[in-house]
Symmetry: C2
Subunit: 363 residues, 2 copies
């Protein structure tokens, strides 16, 4: 039934055929009040007949904004950020907004490229899922009046919206748990400390050790120097190698689950028993942390809550509702599994079935 007058019909085409003005067509299609039923029906029918699809670019030019938002992550291969993308994308779509995903690999050049492009595209808002390496970007966004929300990091400028996690507490939870297991010599491994989350986790580790009156041997600390170490599993593998070449700790605390996977892999390969010889704790509670053998004790963060808060804040800023989220802090909790079991269960010589279980479903 489609008469293919033009491949990409515009309001003008509809207007000509319906013998009304282009403005009238606009009114009809935008459901503006004050159009007679007769004209409305005729226009809608012709629009449908022509297979009319509005040109969002023209509309955006007129409105001086677009209906898209950006999601900036450092690594689309990391399931921690996948989860954020998953939540944020869903919420924005439900708002009728399109979402860009920007993958930066923590590279300041790439970060800037995306920010500049976002400004050029007159993007409605941005959710930044980590602390940008290139801090100039925040200023640029401010200058151009583009609202943004930072997840899991603080910006220098207090008036920006940030939702952060209590990473120091997370490390305390981990270390205290190891100590409960009677472990006193604990190694730490992390990727380079390029954002607040990583710095606080490290800081929390040192503070917790101090609190317990334990000394930290610098040889038992492996922190990668390279920003480009994006293969976190391999990093954990190498870190464990390095650490074992200098000593034999009873516990290893990894700054992220993926690093912990590498640690476990290395220990498995060396036939070092987990947790009997060395206990391992990770951070993030990614979906696979319950699947790996032994399943990983780890720190879980309320990611969904963070994303929800972040998205709601951004939407309200976009709509000028004036709602701001100033440095809201969310609390982590520890998920005890096989790699550093519950002391009571463990002493009984067996693991409870629940400790083997799945992580809560992601959706």
């Amino acid at each position: 039934m489609k008469s293919n007058i033009s491949k990409n019909p515009t309001m003008k085409d509809i207007a000509r055929i319906a013998r009304v003005s282009q403005a009238t067509v606009s009114y009809v299609l935008n459901n503006s009040a004050g159009i007679s039923q007769k004209v409305r029906e005729r226009v809608l029918e012709i629009a449908d007949d022509l297979g009319y699809i509005p040109n969002a670019i023209a509309r955006n030019l007129k409105n001086k904004t677009s209906n898209t938002i950006g999601i900036i992550v450092p690594d689309v291969m990391n399931s921690y950020y996948n989860e954020m993308i998953n939540y944020v994308e869903k919420m924005t779509r439900e708002q009728g907004l399109f979402s860009f995903v920007c993958n930066t690999m923590h590279d300041p050049k790439i970060e800037e490229w995306y920010i500049v492009n976002s400004i050029q595209q007159k993007i409605a808002g941005i959710i930044i899922c980590y602390g940008l390496t290139n801090r100039e970007c925040y200023k640029k966004l401010d200058q151009h009046g583009i609202p943004f929300v930072i997840l899991d990091d603080l910006s220098e400028d207090e008036k920006n919206s940030c939702i952060i996690m209590n990473n120091i507490k997370g490390s305390f939870l981990a270390i205290r748990h190891l100590i409960k297991l009677g472990i006193r010599d604990i190694a730490y491994c992390s990727q380079a400390l390029y954002n607040i989350a990583l710095r606080e986790r490290y800081k929390g580790f040192r503070l917790a050790m101090e609190e317990a009156g334990l000394s930290v041997s610098e040889e038992m600390i492996y922190i990668s120097k390279e920003h480009k170490d994006y293969d976190k599993i391999r990093l954990g593998y190498t870190a464990t190698e390095k650490i074992l070449s200098k000593g034999f700790p009873s516990g290893i605390f990894a700054a992220t689950d993926h690093i912990a996977f590498g640690v476990i892999k290395k220990l498995n390969d060396l036939n070092i028993r987990i947790p009997e010889d060395i206990s391992v704790i990770g951070y993030d509670d990614v979906p696979l942390s319950g699947i790996i053998s032994p399943s990983l004790t780890t720190i879980s963060q309320p990611i969904k809550k963070m994303c929800k808060l972040g998205a709601v804040t951004l939407f309200s800023e976009i709509n000028n509702e004036g709602y701001k989220a100033n440095n809201i802090m969310l609390e982590p909790k520890i998920i005890i599994r096989e790699s550093a079991p519950d002391p009571l269960t463990y002493q009984k010589g067996g693991f409870q079935e629940k400790n083997k279980g799945f992580r809560k479903s992601v959706i």
Copy 2:
């Protein structure tokens, strides 16, 4: 040094200050020939001084196209698609193109929403990373003249560009390997067969069994009926439960690695030994398949090659270079690890170190 005349200066602002016409500014900024050195310098300096950032929307309206492409995936939580996003995003960025990531959960409504929005945004092209459930979408894109490339699926219309994997051969590799290990009773589990890749894997399984003269017991086949089964690990877990309630196969072939992770988890929980009691083979060779214990024997596909071919094809279609990729087929290979080891190594009673190793680096 910035004189903040306007928050978002336009060419008009620059023109006024430089006392030239807006057209001249456009010439300068686009490096058109035929502008005096003097004017060029003055304009550039003022543009810089004002912090001018071009308005991509206006340019796109004029050009009737945009500098963005879409990447459509069914599930951002799946590392198989993460890898594709990773490659494609990198290549498009290097082309100076922005990329949308669209997450559909295989939902035909969401697929359509993204396609319609892409048309509205006058997107330059789309890379579709799986077979769309909603086949009407392909027609819509054709109608509106938007170039697209389909990865890992065929479209009904032969003139569309498709890059496909030889999934039938992949299943043959898996089954033949199990048979080499002396295994004759093989179970199969898969998510719902909503695309060609899954259907061919299943078909390949049956053909390979037939070729070997083995009968397939329908009770040893678990294929989820629900499209919404997006938690693949849990699916594998449940599937194994179901299968074991009806029999005890010597081998389980899973349609994807994530399903295989669930299978392994279940077997581990039941203290069923892998591979001594049951061998397991997955499909996709996701990064974690080498990390899990036992590490997973799986079918590896040339994802990077596929993405590269797909992107190059799309770029050439966008630039009207007329290059088409008609049903190019790429070949898989088997990666032998612990869950279904090499028969020779295995008979010697031990695994070679290499079988424990990492998957090749992703980057």
